[in-house]
């Protein structure tokens, strides 16, 4: 018997995308609706592919999101699967555990939410599949995987688990466990959630993160979606990523060391932008462009950053109305000056003067004072973000580069 099922996780419905700076309301709305479009695409794909069932491995909702209509939207969306006779298996993730609004949602009968007080096994007789899972009872959970039941011999065993695994993938360490821990259970497939980057961690057995359904910031780039898992005669034979996202993020890091002038830099970015847009398959695309490399153009690029960013945004619009350059970051470096030039007794060397002034420890104090001035006026939640921003980190160097670039 051959059938397939869909494995998704980390829907985070209605979690807003990071601020894009889009002024066009229609385009901003397309980005804002991307998350819901992705959920609808997941449901549509599940029905269209005649999947046997759908697994959602946690974090359907965002923890601090209190709008109950989000839950109702999800119920409405998922009810289409009920009507199509496709069961859904859900474990609650750490975000769902703390979500107030998602409690007591009126799911249809075919939606099965694993209990949180202990791990449980659910059986799908028609396909001889057993699913083992446990929902998060609260946000912090330590020993968790150990409570999962033993495999059921002769059936396809699937473990549904919301976990940070061994903690090496950068997310908070919920339900920590190792790959070997999972292997000891003898399950055929571990449907994991929590890590937002898709990854097939292991093939024997299959241990899979499908990634989140919709990228929400420039840290979550590339195609996002779910996994289609194909089963033949009780064995998993194929795991295929399904891009379902409603909008896409990309981060182009371009080395401009070899470019001769600003026009070449723009040409290079344009080519990369067009390539990125082609890869996004007509989805709204938000692109961050970061220029790196050592180049004599560094100062000029820093000084002209705003103008270049405007130009790139215009170029993006020429490609498509929703191809948006989120930000241009200049992270290039200027080539070191020749030592003799630095020591030349030329009192009019403005570059040297700027360098000396920037290296003066008092200038660091000045910068700190400026940061403090504006930090005091920012809302609390933005202060840390400002502090952590690379603009603040490179403020001294960028200020010097801006002056040198504007004078050149």
């Amino acid at each position: 018997m051959r059938f397939s099922f869909i494995h998704a996780a980390d829907l985070h419905i209605d979690s807003p995308l990071a601020g894009l700076g889009v002024k066009d309301k229609a385009v901003a709305e397309r980005f804002a609706r991307a998350g819901r479009r992705a959920v609808e695409a997941l449901v549509a794909e599940t029905i269209a592919s005649q999947a046997a069932f759908l697994i959602i491995a946690g974090d359907v909702f965002d923890g601090d999101w209190k709008d109950v209509t989000t839950g109702l939207f999800f119920v409405r969306a998922i009810s289409a699967l009920h009507r199509a006779g496709i069961p859904v298996y859900i474990v609650k993730g750490n975000h769902d555990a703390e979500s107030v609004m998602s409690r007591d949602l009126p799911y249809p009968d075919t939606v099965h939410v694993f209990p949180s007080n202990k791990a449980a096994s659910l059986h799908l007789d028609s396909h001889r599949v057993t699913l083992h899972g446990r929902s998060f009872p609260h946000r912090l959970t330590g020993d968790f995987v150990q409570t999962y039941p033993a495999r059921r011999d002769g059936w396809l065993n699937i473990g549904v688990l919301h976990t940070a695994l061994d903690g090496t993938r950068g997310h908070e360490g919920y339900a920590p466990c190792s790959i070997d821990d999972l292997k000891t259970f003898g399950y055929d497939y571990w449907a994991l959630g929590h890590i937002h980057a898709a990854e097939i961690v292991s093939r024997e057995p299959w241990i899979v993160f499908p990634g989140n359904l919709q990228g929400r910031s420039v840290r979550e780039t590339g195609a996002k979606g779910a996994m289609r898992v194909t089963v033949e005669d009780g064995r998993i034979v194929e795991v295929t990523p399904l891009p379902l996202d409603g909008a896409r993020w990309d981060h182009l890091r371009l080395d401009v060391s070899a470019t001769a002038d600003e026009a070449s830099v723009l040409s290079m970015i344009d080519a990369a932008l067009a390539q990125a847009h082609a890869g996004a398959a007509n989805r709204p695309l938000a692109v961050r462009v970061t220029l790196v490399g050592t180049t004599p153009l560094h100062n000029r690029l820093v000084a002209r950053r705003d103008d270049l960013q405007d130009e790139l945004r215009a170029n993006g619009f020429r490609i498509a109305e929703d191809c948006w350059v989120e930000q241009l970051k200049i992270r290039t470096a200027a080539p070191l000056r020749a030592p003799q030039a630095l020591s030349a007794p030329d009192s009019l060397d403005i570059d040297a003067l700027l360098r000396e002034a920037a290296d003066d420890p008092d200038f660091a104090v000045t910068i700190e004072r400026l940061i403090k001035d504006i930090e005091d006026k920012l809302p609390k939640d933005l202060r840390d973000e400002l502090r952590a921003s690379d603009v603040v980190a490179a403020l001294g160097d960028d200020a010097r580069a801006l002056l040198a670039g504007a004078l050149s």
Binding site: A18, A32, G35, V68, A271, Q275, D346, K377, L382, D398
Partner: protein
């Protein structure tokens, strides 16, 4: 470095112009009038030293490729260099033989300067001098800003600082201002925050919405119930009121029927029959009386009627004559008018006869020409006129075309012949889409770089690192199965080790527990065991043996040994006592000790096994490392390396793709190169010089331009040829048209005499005469026809009138001579009137006879009906016991009254049944009980008002319910919180972006300020002293120098010092003096440069100086010329004249 000569070979308006600067002069003044090329010469110095820019304004006479400048330079160490410069992208520096010199040739000569710095620091124009003076004023004497303003570079920095600070202040200031972008964004973000809060639909809000809907439903239900009760009560009351009169009438009818109870029972049909018979009897009597009256009246009418029988007999003839009277009357009316028209037509004909020279209309009509003759004459006249016009037009047209041909031949006599560029076009097309290929090459190259970088990043991200790309490409990656096998080995080993470690931990826990037990048991006192007892016994035996050995010794030794024995015995006793007295504790203690020993033994065994597992792990690890040794990689865990292998394989795959992509690009580059050569060859083959260093698409565009020009020239030549052919064709056509027209005219003249004879004219008649005669003949036709028609009409009318009068006279004589009158028409009228009266009397007499016959028949029918009716009336009298007809009528009235009452009673009960809402009469009477019927209408009205109020309340409650449901539905649909959250994120990003932009600008402004301050600190003392001397000289000793004062804010401030010691602030200096101060500061700054001295070039610097200070400044510049070359451009002749008065310096005047 000095410039000894500047050669403008091909530059701007110049061709082979050489400016020579005398080597021994300390100041060079280049003089030229306006438009003489001073600006070009100035720019040429920069272009010579640093090369042409990408664009130049000096290619308006000579092409870019032809631009050349040359110059001879002298280094301060005495070396000479002769160079030339061309415009281009590389190898632009040339020697005298046009051979390229290395680009770095000039580097040691330029003191490390760039073009911009040279222009900025070593060039000074009148405008920049004035700007500098203004900047000094703006700096207000503040030393840092003043010194910055005196240096072009620092001045730019100061201006930049101001701009950045201004931009920063527009974005944000710590003191809140609503107009600042930061605060605007902060407000927007706050609004978005609020909007988000308002948009969130919470569970509580939803619960409240549900509750509100339930409350509204309950209120509506309550009102509906009250409305129902009220409606039912109102219905009952209204019913009672409705049946009230009917019930009362039923009571009255019952009483009246009681009074008629003596009448016999009679069926309604019999009653109706009797009543009808009585009425019929009366009706027959009335009808018979009416018939008798009519007979009498008709007899009287017949006697009074009179009839004229002869006229009646001739009525057909009279009618025929009367019908003819209309036509006869019309003839009488028309006859005079017809006669007048006939006479007028005859007069017109006579007039036409006169115009043609004929005696009367009779002669005219005899010579009237036929239509063909007139048509022939008309045709010949028209053709003669047309032919004359054609001859005139053709002559004029021929003259014009001849003139056009003469002009064309004069204009294009010297045009060269050209060849068709079609072949050239084919050759150009064969070059292919060069621009597309170049564009593709650039795009693919950029894409290749991106992919290369991405691959480098991916390769760099591989941990452990496999080394360079090439190494990674060549790596033979291990089999995945091998990695899996090691993964299993590691896993098994780790599982075993983990299990052993866990066992060890368990044992440690057990040991700790045993030790804890021992400690706890020992806390109650020392707990000796069997071992202690054995040891104590052994000690005792040892002491006894020692005692035994000294029994023969001295007493003290014996006593000491005995004491040892006693102590040992006591120890044994003590242990024994403890063992006996606390057996349980002892047992436990013993058990704990045994357990401890067993655990420790087990621990040793497990520890050994763990060591074995660790050794095995080292072995596996070693094998694992060895498996990767060929790759020279130190592997991580198998799981990591499995991922590593996948990623490395992916990189290898992409590398292979990259190679293919690169090969494609190389092929494309080769194609582009070939296309460039082919394009260059194409250009050279058509006589154009092609720079093969230029990009292929540029060459291709140049070739395309050439081809366009050639095709345009060819098209123009073709157009010229076609135009000449057309003119010649037009000339031939004009000749032909003229000849044809003349031939036609001769033919017409031959046919002319015959045509004139046809319209009664002589052979010699002219065209005008013929046209006049034709006009008269055309006018004759109408009066001729009119004359003939009117003559016919008059004759016919006169005959008709005579015949009528004859017929009328004959009839009147025959039947009524008395009716004859003066005219026939009057006679007919009289006969007709008489005939009409006789006909009406005859008709009336016939109608009266018919009526009398009908009345006789009616009288017979009435008699028969009367007999039958009398029989019925007799039966009625008997039944009702009446003696006569009068009694019968009274009995019938009472019986009918009874019958009506019974019918009304039946009808009332039926009505009651219909209006009683299904209730019977008894129930209705019961409902009425207890109700005051007089007060009931008021009660009903009050209840209606109440019900109306209830309806209003229900409508309001229903609206409230709908509103609550709508609010709940809206809540369920959501308030677009997602969009609000998105807006909030946007607002946050905007606010953060402004903060970051402000930070960068504010920091840059602060940094610029600090740099300017540093500049001041470094330059202040020596610079001010040197500038002071120069300023004194430039101001012709009006000032003695410069000093630094400190203002109220302790900030250093620059002031000018007069000879008498007075200190003047910058604002106190005149405009010209500020210019001199700026010049002094600029020259002082240049003096501080330690690198190779570069020429200082001034352009019309002295325009704002008076004569004395101009001379003083010329001396100052000439004095400075010993340090560095100074070249001054001017168009003021007085500057030259003043320079010639300077004798203590060698000043070189160069005419441009």
């Amino acid at each position: 470095m000095k410039i000894e000569s500047l050669t403008l070979e091909r530059y701007g308006a110049f061709t082979d112009r050489v400016l020579t600067f005398a080597p021994d002069a300390t100041l060079h003044i280049v003089h030229g009038a306006n438009e003489s090329g001073k600006t070009s010469a100035l720019s040429a110095i920069g272009d010579l030293l640093f090369g042409f820019g990408a664009r130049t304004a000096y290619n308006f006479r000579h092409d870019n490729n032809a631009l050349r400048i040359g110059g001879t330079l002298r280094h301060s160490d005495g070396r000479q260099l002769v160079i030339r410069r061309r415009k281009g992208t590389k190898n632009t520096l040339l020697d005298l033989r046009d051979q390229p010199l290395p680009d770095e040739t000039l580097t040691p000569w330029l003191g490390g300067l760039a073009r911009e710095t040279f222009d900025r620091e070593f060039g000074l124009t009148a405008e920049s001098l004035r700007q500098g003076g203004d900047d000094l004023l703006k700096a207000g004497g503040r030393l840092a800003e003043t010194l910055a303003a005196s240096s072009a570079g620092m001045s730019a920095l100061a201006q930049l600082r101001e701009r950045l600070q201004r931009e920063a202040d527009e974005l944000f200031t710590p003191r809140r201002a609503g107009s600042k972008a930061f605060y605007v964004a902060a407000d927007q973000r706050e609004t978005a925050d609020r909007l988000l809060r308002d948009s969130i639909v919470t569970r509580e809000a939803l619960r409240q919405a549900d509750e509100a809907v339930r409350d509204a439903e309950a209120e509506l239900d309550r009102l509906n119930a009250a409305h129902g009760d009220s409606g039912r009560m109102l219905t009952r009351w209204q019913r009672t009121l409705r049946v009230r009169s009917k019930l009362a009438r039923l009571d009255a009818i019952a009483a009246e029927l009681q009074a008629l109870a003596d009448l016999p029972a009679v069926t309604p049909a019999a009653l109706t029959e009797w009543r009808n018979a009585l009425a019929t009897d009366e009706e027959i009597a009335r009808e018979l009386a009416r018939l008798d009256d009519a007979d009498r009246d008709d007899a009287s009418d017949i006697a009074g009627l009179a009839v004229n029988e002869p006229l009646l007999a001739a009525q057909a003839a009279i009618e025929a004559l009367r019908e003819r009277t209309g036509a006869i009357r019309k003839d009488f009316e028309d006859l005079p008018r017809r006669r007048q028209a006939r006479d007028a037509a005859q007069a017109a004909l006579d007039d036409s006869a006169r115009r043609l020279g004929l005696p009367s209309h009779v002669a005219l009509l005899e010579r009237l020409p036929a239509d063909p003759a007139q048509a022939l004459a008309r045709d010949l006249i028209a053709r003669r006129k047309q032919t004359d016009t054609t001859i005139a037009d053709s002559s004029r047209r021929r003259a014009e075309v001849q003139r056009e041909l003469d002009d064309f031949l004069a204009d294009h006599a010297a045009m060269p012949s050209l060849s068709d560029p079609a072949q050239l076009k084919q050759r150009f097309d064969a070059l292919g889409d060069v621009a597309g290929e170049v564009h593709r090459l650039r795009r693919d190259t950029a894409a290749l770089k991106i992919e290369t970088d991405a691959l480098a990043a991916a390769a760099e991200a591989l941990d452990p690192s496999p080394g360079s790309f090439e190494r990674l490409r060549a790596l033979a990656l291990p089999d995945a199965a091998l990695i899996d096998r090691f993964a299993r080995d590691f896993a098994q080993n780790e599982a075993a080790a983990r299990q052993l470690t866990a066992t060890l931990a368990t044992i440690d826990d057990a040991i700790a527990a045993a030790e804890s037990d021992l400690r706890r048991l020992s806390e109650a006192g020392t707990m000796p065991g069997r071992t202690d007892l054995t040891a104590a016994r052994q000690q005792r035996d040892h002491h006894l043996a020692a005692l035994r050995g000294v029994l023969d010794g001295d007493a003290a030794t014996r006593a000491a040994r005995l004491s040892d024995v006693v102590r040992s015995s006591q120890e044994i006793d003590s242990i024994t006592d403890l063992l006996l007295s606390d057996t349980e504790r002892a047992t436990r203690h013993e058990d704990a000790q045994q357990r401890l020993a067993a655990h420790r033994a087990e621990r040793e065994r497990v520890t050994a096994k763990l060591a074995e597992a660790q050794t095995a792990r080292i072995t596996i690890h070693k094998a694992w490392d060895e498996a990767w040794a060929p790759l020279r990689i130190t592997p991580r865990s198998p799981a990591d390396m499995a991922r590593w292998r996948d990623r490395a394989a992916d990189v290898q795959r992409r590398l292979a793709l990259l190679d293919r992509q690169r090969a494609g690009i190389d092929a494309l580059a080769a194609d582009v190169d070939a296309a460039r050569n082919a394009t260059a060859a194409f250009l050279e083959s058509v006589g154009r010089s092609a720079d093969r260093a230029l990009p292929a698409d540029t060459l291709h565009r140049e070739a395309a331009l050439y081809l366009d020009e050639a095709r345009a020239a060819w098209a123009e030549a073709k157009a010229r040829s076609v135009n000449r052919q057309r003119i010649e064709r037009d000339l031939r056509a004009a000749d032909t048209a003229l000849a044809d027209a003349r031939r036609s005219r001769e033919e017409l003249l031959r046919a002319w005499p015959a045509a004139m004879a046809g319209i009664a004219l002589a052979d010699t008649a002219s065209v005008a005469e013929a046209e006049a005669a034709l006009a008269v003949w055309q006018d004759v036709a109408v009066p001729k026809a009119s004359h003939e028609r009117e003559t016919r009409s008059v004759r016919t009318m006169e005959a008709d009138i005579a015949a009528f009068e004859r017929d009328v006279a004959a009839l009147a004589d025959r039947i009524a001579p008395a009716l004859k009158a003066a005219s026939a028409l009057d006679t007919v009228s009289r006969m007709w009137t008489e005939l009409d009266g006789s006909r009406r009397a005859n008709d009336a007499r016939q109608r009266l006879h018919q009526a009398a016959a009908q009345r006789t028949a009616s009288r017979q029918r009435l008699s028969a009906r009367h007999d039958a009716n009398a029989l019925v009336l007799t039966q009625a009298c008997e039944a009702l016991r009446c003696s006569d007809r009068a009694a019968l009528r009274g009995a019938l009235d009472r019986a009918e009254a009874r019958q009506m009452l019974q019918a009304e009673e039946t009808q009332l009960r039926r009505d009651l049944d219909e209006t009683a809402d299904g209730r019977d009469e008894a129930t209705l009477r019961q409902e009425r009980e207890g109700i005051d019927l007089d007060l009931l209408p008021g009660e009903i009205e009050r209840e209606r008002v109440r019900q109306s109020q209830l309806l209003q309340d229900i409508a309001a409650a229903s609206a409230v319910l709908q509103q609550k449901k709508s609010e709940r539905d809206t809540l369920l649909q959501g308030r677009d919180a997602n969009a609000a959250a998105s807006e909030r994120a946007q607002a946050s990003a905007e606010l953060l972006s402004i903060a970051q932009t402000w930070l960068l600008r504010a920091a840059a402004a602060r940094l610029a300020g600090r740099a300017i301050e540093r500049h001041r600190a470094r330059m202040q003392d020596p610079l001010i002293a040197r500038a002071g001397d120069l300023f004194a000289a430039a101001s012709d000793s009006a000032f003695a120098g410069l000093v630094i004062d400190y203002g109220d804010d302790d900030q250093p401030e620059l002031k000018a010092r007069r000879s008498d010691g007075e200190r003047v602030g910058i604002a106190g200096l005149s405009e010209g003096t500020r210019d001199q101060l700026f010049l002094a500061l600029r020259l002082a700054l240049l003096d501080r440069r330690a690198a190779e001295p570069m020429p200082f070039i001034g352009d019309d610097l002295l325009t704002s100086f008076d004569e004395a200070r101009t001379l003083a400044t010329l001396r100052l510049l000439a004095a400075g010329g010993s340090q560095r070359q100074i070249i001054l451009f001017t168009h003021h002749r007085h500057v030259i004249e003043l320079a010639r008065t300077v004798s203590d310096h060698r000043i070189d005047c160069v005419a441009l």
